[in-house]
């Protein structure tokens, strides 16, 4: 996978969209270079003889224990109205849902 390791500017833009980050054009070259260097370094794990026989680590049943399926109200010192950037009548307020609403409209 070595030859395709360098992260292109287009890839940075695509990843930024997936990550919901606004990366400016000015910041692109440095970020692409840093990501490439880090990814080239961490790619050394591919030289580990971790064959198909080695199971990936997954937090299994021992790690994640099922709890009784009960609704237990978490005691909060105050409610979401005091935390949210915009809140009214029990709802979090957001701006319009962009494309989705335009399609409907």
């Amino acid at each position: 996978m070595g030859e395709r390791m360098s992260v292109t500017h287009d890839e940075v833009r695509r990843i930024a969209r997936l990550a919901e980050l606004e990366v400016s054009e000015d910041a692109l070259p440095l970020l692409a270079e840093q990501m490439s260097r880090i990814l080239e370094y961490v790619a050394q794990i591919n030289s580990v003889p971790a064959s198909e026989a080695v199971k990936p680590f997954v937090p299994g049943p021992d790690a994640v224990r099922f709890r009784a399926d009960e609704v237990k109200p978490a005691p909060l010192a105050f409610g979401p109205a005091e935390l949210a950037p915009a809140f009214r009548d029990g709802f979090f307020l957001v701006p319009k849902l962009g494309q989705f609403e335009q399609e409907e409209g």
């Binding site: 990843i15 997936l18 978490a74 979401p80 950037p85």
Partner: protein, 462 residues
């Protein structure tokens, strides 16, 4: 209560460290209230404990060193904090840290960098650098930090204090702001192994609010501290002791620790844990991957910062752009990349396989040894700015601590002396999961042998 006022006075005196984020008026007021309501029967009665800013408290804001949570007040407190308070401790402010725990120097905080208590031109380590600096300088007798890749042990080592990473699941993660949930664990700092054990016993145990909390109750550790190491089998981890770029003084401190163990009656030999060489790479895939998912919650909707925009997707992106610092964005990007279609198995899948191998290699080592010995950090405190422009160089300072986070086991850093520049050196003892009793006993033996006493003089240091 005198201890509360004295702690506040010392924190004021040490303002230049930029280690405490809580405004002093607020700190004094809260300490006075807490002192009047603290449990007199508790084992920590009246002990001021500073808390890392990514651990939720009702007394103070919890910003995680990030602009996106500036001024955020949590409506609940972390179980670890509640337990400390129940034992009589006073929460003495919130400490500076790398944003969301992402860093090794406390330079990646939206509230300015913290400074090393011995030398103002150097970093205190990180990400729990503020907690380590406050304990090292004597402002507070103990503090809470959290670890994802060594963020308690590395700053403890750099500042000359004791810091422990408990077994994953021993200390509740409830109320500790998530960075990488399969690795995160809170741990205390103190100047002695006994104080560290005291805090640990006060804060650990099963918590139904954390699904990964271990249901069994931990065994007492404090009572067994002085049992010594006669007959204990100690393995010196070759790959971590001969790690690239290790400072000769750090290497020498590990040799001294080895000699101290032998003198105290332990059987010491070297051991190879081959896959730890890949620990750093696996970590810098797994941790960013989990971070990219955990930090998706900061979207400007429910709490925290919101950047105004006409529609929601733009609002999300602008909020995150304005609220996150460069290192957090870099890790979110790396994690998103590692989890994206076409790369998932080569990066994340392979990293999880390597994690399995590291766990297997350590299990093999523990068939022959009770505890392991290694440096905590390859170097002593580095200069401010030395690694901020080179993320990879910064990541490399976690190389010796990361394996324990990947395995979910426990490890502790103990001060082992000073280098030629007068900076503290730490050595690390590692034990298998749930091995805190033997870990602390071995650490206590080393502490007695090294008899480390160096502290910056209050008000005069640096």
């Amino acid at each position: 209560m005198a201890s509360a006022k004295a702690a506040a006075d010392r924190i004021v005196k040490l303002k230049r460290l930029n280690a405490c984020l809580t405004p002093i008026k607020e700190l004094r007021k809260s300490l006075a209230v807490q002192a009047s309501t603290a449990h007199p029967s508790g084992v920590l009665y009246g002990m001021p404990v500073a808390v890392k800013d990514n651990i939720c408290t009702l007394e103070y804001t919890t910003s995680c060193g990030s602009k996106i949570l500036e001024g955020y007040r949590s409506p609940y407190e972390a179980t670890a904090v509640a337990k400390l308070k129940a034992a009589g401790a006073l929460i003495a402010g919130k400490t500076n840290c790398d944003e969301f725990g992402m860093g090794s120097s406390t330079e990646h905080s939206a509230y300015g960098r913290s400074f090393h208590p011995f030398d103002k031109t150097r970093v205190p380590g990180g990400s729990s650098g503020g907690s380590a600096a406050l304990v090292a300088s004597g402002a507070v007798p103990a503090a809470l930090g959290s670890e994802t890749g060594g963020s308690v042990r590395q700053p403890a080592s750099l500042c000359g204090v004791v810091g422990i990473k408990p077994t994953y699941g021993r200390v509740s993660r409830y109320g500790i702001v998530a960075y990488a949930s399969s690795l995160d664990q809170a741990g205390p700092f103190a100047t002695t192994v006994a104080d560290t054990a005291l805090l640990l016993e006060a804060m650990w145990g099963h918590d139904p609010c954390d699904s990964t909390s271990i249901p069994s109750e931990p065994e007492p550790v404090l009572a067994r501290l002085e049992e010594g190491v006669a007959g204990l089998r100690v393995g010196v981890v070759e790959e971590l002791t001969d790690v690239e770029g290790i400072q000769p003084a750090v290497r020498a401190a590990v040799d001294s620790a080895r000699n101290l163990f032998e003198k105290a009656g332990a059987e010491v030999d070297t051991v190879s844990v081959p896959s730890v060489e890949y620990g750093l790479s696996a970590y810098y895939i797994i941790a960013p991957a989990e971070a990219s998912s955990n930090l998706a919650r900061y979207d400007g909707v429910r709490y925290g910062l919101r950047a105004p925009a006409a529609e929601v997707a733009t609002m999300n992106a602008l909020t995150r752009e304005a609220g996150f610092g460069a290192e957090v964005k870099r890790r979110i990007m790396l994690g998103t990349y590692a989890l994206s279609a076409g790369y998932y198995d080569a990066y994340y899948g392979q990293a999880q396989r390597v994690r399995t191998l590291i766990i297997r290699d350590f299990s093999r080592a523990y068939e022959r040894f009770d505890v392991l010995l290694a440096p905590t950090s390859p170097t002593t405190a580095f200069e401010l700015g030395a690694k901020t422009s080179d993320p990879l160089a910064m990541y490399l300072s976690d190389v010796c601590t990361i394996p324990t986070n990947l395995t979910g086991a426990t490890a502790i850093s103990v001060p082992a002396g000073l280098d030629a520049a007068g900076l503290p050196i730490g050595v690390q003892v590692l034990a298998p999961a749930l091995g805190e009793a033997v870990l602390l006993r071995a650490a206590r033996s080393l502490e007695a042998g090294f008899a480390f006493t160096a502290r910056p003089t209050l008000g005069e240091a640096a």
